[in-house]
């Protein structure tokens, strides 16, 4: 299997039943849990491809190209940091520039800026817009109703969670049945219920119909415009873009692959991602390896319950062969915060002796800095433990239960 740029975020979970299904497809169908968050400029390009009006602008990675974009679109321009975090304005990541000197100054300051641990590598330069009113619009899945949920509010430009809490009546909601779709008639009634400025009605209906199409055809988890603005001249316009795509739908959208390069991942997550592992970095000292997402989550819980803190979530899937185990151990071993490793395996279809052999072989391939505590249970656990027995030492310990193994790992991490 290739992990090239074309499909590098589209790696499969190794050695699971489910991924075996995925591997039988021509293009891999991706990670079960992948979220693909777009940066603002990618979101705007995504919107523009569905005909939603956005401000003229371009993404830049250096000051001179920022100047060139500003000269092309005309002043004043807005220079905006492109990072996967909120609070850009407060951190000095969004600036208005009235002339070439100001573009040069702001672009220079914003590029390289550290915003909540995210270093700015890309800036978006767009023509500044006059704003008469600010609204909010989005589509997402209402998991409870099992239908699409559209939200529209005349109170835009602020966090929708705040509006929902302080003034829930200010949000007009619409449920859309995915089989029936959104009719223009229903959309218009929804816009009217939101009590926008009447001058915005036609423009809002047009944008929301396009936003719905983008949401469905683009296989998005979330499309959000905040603010959606009404200009003094009467046009309605998307001033920001927040888009999350469904990684499972990549086989229908090969163009999503390029978004992989800008996903927010730390070094550890990058390394795990390259190995096709389901990994989420945390900040504790106990490295965790488990098979199955639920068991991995449960392992983090148990580590916490006995007074420790996990360094990561790592699901190696249904099996535990040497290749997958070695890859997992490498990623965890490279995490300098890790002081002990807890391997928590429950054999279902996979037998205990296969798991044990995989661990022993993997340990022979990776030189580890931290001790391992193993809990092996389930199918043929006795046989598996018998294989591990002669290898036990200060570097490899075994415990009977999930709780005692967690306690041991935490004790070692604190020593």
């Amino acid at each position: 299997m290739q992990y090239g740029a074309a499909n590098c975020w589209n790696t499969v979970r190794l050695n699971t039943v489910h991924s075996a299904l995925q591997r039988t497809t021509e293009t891999n169908t991706g990670l079960g849990g992948t979220q693909v968050d777009l940066l603002e400029y990618q979101g705007k390009q995504f919107f523009a491809s569905y005909g939603i009006p956005v401000s003229d602008g371009e993404a830049c990675t250096d000051v001179e190209s920022a100047v060139a974009v500003a000269e092309r679109v005309g002043y004043p321009v807005v220079v905006k940091a492109q990072v996967h975090t909120g609070g850009r304005g407060k951190a000095g990541g969004v600036k208005l520039a009235n002339n070439v000197d100001e573009v040069r100054e702001h672009a220079g300051n914003i590029l390289g800026l550290d915003i909540k641990g995210h270093i700015v590598k890309v800036i978006w330069v767009e023509i500044a817009s006059d704003i008469a009113e600010e609204y909010y619009a989005s589509f997402t899945l209402d998991r409870s109703a099992k239908m699409y949920l559209g939200m529209l509010s005349a109170e835009g430009g602020v966090e929708i969670e705040t509006v929902a809490e302080e003034n829930p009546d200010a949000i007009a909601k619409i449920h859309v049945n995915p089989v029936e779709g959104l009719s223009e008639e229903a959309c218009r009634a929804w816009v009217e219920a939101a009590k926008l400025n009447p001058a915005a009605t036609d423009g809002a209906v047009d944008i929301l119909m396009k936003l719905y199409t983008a949401y469905v055809e683009g296989d998005a988890d979330l499309v959000e415009i905040n603010p959606l603005i009404l200009k003094p001249t009467g046009e309605v316009h998307a001033l920001d873009a927040k888009v999350s795509l469904d990684g499972n739908a990549v086989y229908e959208h090969p163009e999503y692959a390029e978004y992989d390069l800008t996903q927010p991942r730390d070094e550890r997550e990058d390394a795990a991602h390259d190995k096709g592992l389901q990994y989420v970095g945390l900040d504790g000292s106990v490295g965790v390896i488990a098979n199955g997402a639920g068991l991995a989550m449960s392992t983090l819980d148990v580590v916490n319950q006995v007074g420790g803190s996990p360094a990561n979530f790592l699901d190696i899937g249904g099996g535990a062969n040497a290749d997958v185990m070695a890859g997992a151990l490498e990623v965890i071993n490279d995490d300098k915060n890790v002081k002990a490793i807890f391997i928590n395996i429950f054999g279902g279809i996979t037998r205990g002796e296969e798991v044990a052999n995989g661990i022993i072989e993997a340990m022979g391939r990776v030189k580890l800095d931290s001790p391992i505590v193993i809990r092996l249970d389930g199918t043929n656990a006795e046989e598996g433990r018998a294989i591990l027995e002669p290898h036990l030492s200060d570097a490899l310990m075994m415990e009977e239960t999930m709780l005692s193994a967690a306690a041991k790992a935490v004790e070692l991490a604190k020593a």
């Binding site: 699971t16 039943v17 489910h18 991924s19 075996a20 299904l21 995925q22 039988t24 497809t25 169908t29 991706g30 990670l31 079960g32 849990g33 979220q35 899945l141 998991r143 409870s144 099992k146 699409y148 969670e161 049945n177 995915p178 089989v179 469905v216 296989d219 988890d221 469904d246 499972n248 739908a249 086989y251 229908e252 389901q278 989420v280 488990a290 199955g292 997402a293 639920g294 068991l295 989550m297 449960s298 983090l300 819980d301 148990v302 580590v303 916490n304 319950q305 996990p310 979530f313 699901d315 249904g318 429950f346 054999g347 279902g348 279809i349 389930g378 199918t379 239960t401 999930m402 709780l403």
Partner: protein, 294 residues
Amino acid sequence: MSIFVDENTKVIYQGLTGSTGRYYGNLNKAYGTQVVAGTHPKKAGTDVDGVPIFASVREAAEATGATATCIFIPAPGVQAAVLEAAEAGMELVVCITEGVPAHDEAYFFNKLKAEYPGTRLLGPNCPGLISPGKANIGITAGHIAKPGGPVGIVSRSGTLTYQALYELQQKDIGVTTCVGIGGDPVPGTSFIDCLEAFEADPDTKAVMMIGEIGGSAEEEAAEYIKNHMTKPVSSYVAGVTAPPGKKMGHAGAIVSGGQGTAQAKMDALKDAGVQVGLNPTEAGELMADIVAGL
């Protein structure tokens, strides 16, 4: 008794000709499940280890009298496979496949609800279900489940389902049916569907429910338990320590905007009178106490 499937359920495997479908089809057959047919549009007339292959679910059902299917089809083909099974009148469609786009799931869930109300979909992205000693449809390891009852299990997570079965087996407690509803955003069968069926099943005397972070299915289940369940329930919710905004393996397992936290779910369940354990072992022990007091 058991819920949804038993020794008389005849099952068609969509995707039996693929390596994964064949592997689990054979395991399920060896367990005792009535694996009566497979489907493949171009391989009708052939067989897979003695199980006849038909061109469509309809033809397979007409020839064998099957009322259920199990789907081992890659994600891009799942929507068509689910709709084909529903159109052929299947009462139960078990979809094992992981990685199905959420929009597809939302579409076929609502399509089934409106046009094929007689079809129950389980999954996608689930381990399937097992009525121990009678039938095993999917990828659960049959030998970790003790037949008989009195406990019914429903779970959103695969490996934690196995863990729950195993905890009970270690305590010599039998299971009527264990249903894995799957970890995706739009599961075909919900906790409530299973709780309702267990409540109605005379052989199930208590229910173990395994939840995880994300969505509000556990809160809705708690509401149902409070108002409609007479049988005792023990529970565990995975992901107490999961950080917000990160998907924890499953597409459905995410804490977003303060919603879907494990703590809120545990509180709702406790409020409904559910015995909530802080880990699977504790939930198993709580269930053992419940069973001892029955």
